[in-house]
Structure formats: structure tokens, C-alpha cells
Symmetry: C2
DNA sequence: CGGGATCCTTATGGATACTG
DNA sequence: CAGTATCCATAAGGATCCCG
């Protein structure tokens, strides 16, 4: 805990300074994080990181529950941010393949800290929820 | 850091397997990440990590742009997940203070990787956007 | 001060139909 | 196959009023 806390504070200070030096950066960082934090972006990133290059429909099947609309939309946005490469093969039927760029891949890596955290703390969170809900119903 | 990376790779493989083995865990992880990835949760987490314990209104001022409704709502959810502690002082006028739990703090730390990534790749992303938009307007 | 309850507007996203 | 376009339901979120 204390080691984590030290590290945390250091990183935090750097961030705080950066924010004060350039508010434009802060905005963009929030923007980028918001995009990245998006449900489908996260899942697609995950699927592409696992499977490499995939076609549109394959991607749709692997990203369980996504609608075709959101798949297209999310992929376009990710392409715009430079996270994925879209390759169109001029054949019939059309064949379009998507893969992560180096940037996309590095983002996946950066996000792993959060994944690990979530995985490691599932139990803690579940019991926290249960405790909260219990207190809430007692209060009523 | 390389140790973290090793751990990351291992965990990644486990995650890939775990998804197939236990869809319930995957769901919960996604849930947690979605909550955490939420715009306001992220900002509040950031503010609390920087300033320590804060009162409701202070929090509202520091989390620029948030409405009182979203502030309350987000704080309740974070409290439920065990990320923040809410302390009510029985005085008039009421005084309610919020601070991060260890879990909340560790989440902030986990998220630092993403913050750093975003900060480091701002330029890359901006030019990727510009390039994409240029291509898009050429195509029309 | 710290909210809860309500209204109302906008944004999000699914379903469907159509196209090169 | 890989989309685009349209419609529609629901949810998210801001503004406002009120209360202990």
C-alpha cells in the first residue's frame, strides 16, 4: 500500500503540473481517454489485440452483442484516432480487414493496468456493493 | 516496469482463457471498467487523488462542468463500488466529506498508465485525426 | 450545505431496409 | 460482404424547485 501510494503521488504530481502548464493538453487527454474508455472501443481493442487481423463480420461475432451500426461507427472513430488500420481488398464479395496500429497496440498495453486492477478486485467490489446495498435497505 | 509488463502478458493470456472459461467474470470486469471509464468517475477520482478529502461543493467546483445531479449520482455509485468513503458530520450547516478508499487510490494508480499513454501520444493522435479528415474530404 | 424529486431536452443506440 | 441511411425507443443528463 505505502509503496503504491508513493508511486501514485509522484505520478500524480507530474500530471498535476502538466495540467497547469497546458489546459489544451488536459482537454485532449480527457477526450482521448473518453474515447478509449468507451465500451465498444475497449472490447474491439481487446478482440483485435487477441486475434490480430480480422474481417468486419468476424469482428462483429467476436465483439459479442455489438450492433452493426456501432461496429462501423466505433471502427471509424478508432481509425480516425490512428488506432486501427482499415484495408479494403478490391474483390467480390468485398473483403475489408482491420488490425491495430502500433499506437492501438500500445494503448492496449497501457490499459492492461486497469484490466488487472479490475480482475484483482472483483471480489472486493462485489462485497462492497453488497455491503452498500445492505446498508441502503436498512436505512429505509 | 518490466516486471509489470511480464505480469501483464501473463495476465493477458489468463484473461483470454478466462473469457472462454468464465463469461461471468468477463461481464463483471467489463462492468467495472465501464463504471471506471465513465467521464465523471474519472474526473472525480482524479480530483480526490490530488486534493485528498473534500466537501461536496468543493468537489463540484474542482470537477469543472459537472452538474449537482451527476456529482451526487457519480459519488453514490463510487461509494457503492467501494471507491470512496462518505463522511457526514452532524452539524449545521451540514458538512459531508468524501475521500478515496485504498481501492479508489489503487484504481487511480492503475489508470496512470492510460493517462501517460494519452499524454505521450497526443501529437500522434492529432496528426492521425488531421490525416484522416484530409483523406475524408478528398474522397468526397 | 447537501442533497432528493421532477421535468424536459438531447444523445445514444438498436432494428430495419436498402446498396455497391 | 460491408457497409449507409432512416426511424424510433430509451437512457443520460441539465435545469429547476424544494427540503432538513
Amino acid at each position: 500500500m505505502s509503496v503504491d501510494f508513493e508511486k501514485h503521488l509522484e505520478a500524480q504530481k507530474k500530471l498535476a503540473q502538466a495540467e497547469k502548464l497546458d489546459p489544451r493538453v488536459e482537454t485532449l487527454v480527457h477526450e482521448v481517454i473518453a474515447r478509449v474508455a468507451d465500451k465498444w472501443t475497449m472490447i474491439i481493442l481487446d478482440v483485435l489485440a487477441e486475434h490480430g487481423e480480422l474481417r468486419f463480420k468476424q469482428l462483429g461475432r467476436l465483439a459479442t452483442g455489438i450492433s452493426q451500426k456501432m461496429l462501423t461507427q466505433t471502427l471509424r472513430e478508432m481509425e480516425r484516432e490512428g488506432l486501427v488500420i482499415r484495408t479494403v481488398h478490391a474483390v467480390v464479395p468485398p473483403r475489408v480487414e482491420y488490425r491495430l496500429t502500433d499506437l492501438g497496440l500500445s494503448l492496449g498495453t497501457a490499459f492492461c493496468g486497469v484490466w488487472l486492477w479490475a480482475e484483482q478486485n472483483l471480489d472486493v467490489i462485489e462485497s462492497a456493493r453488497a455491503a452498500f446495498d445492505r446498508r441502503a435497505s436498512e436505512a429505509s
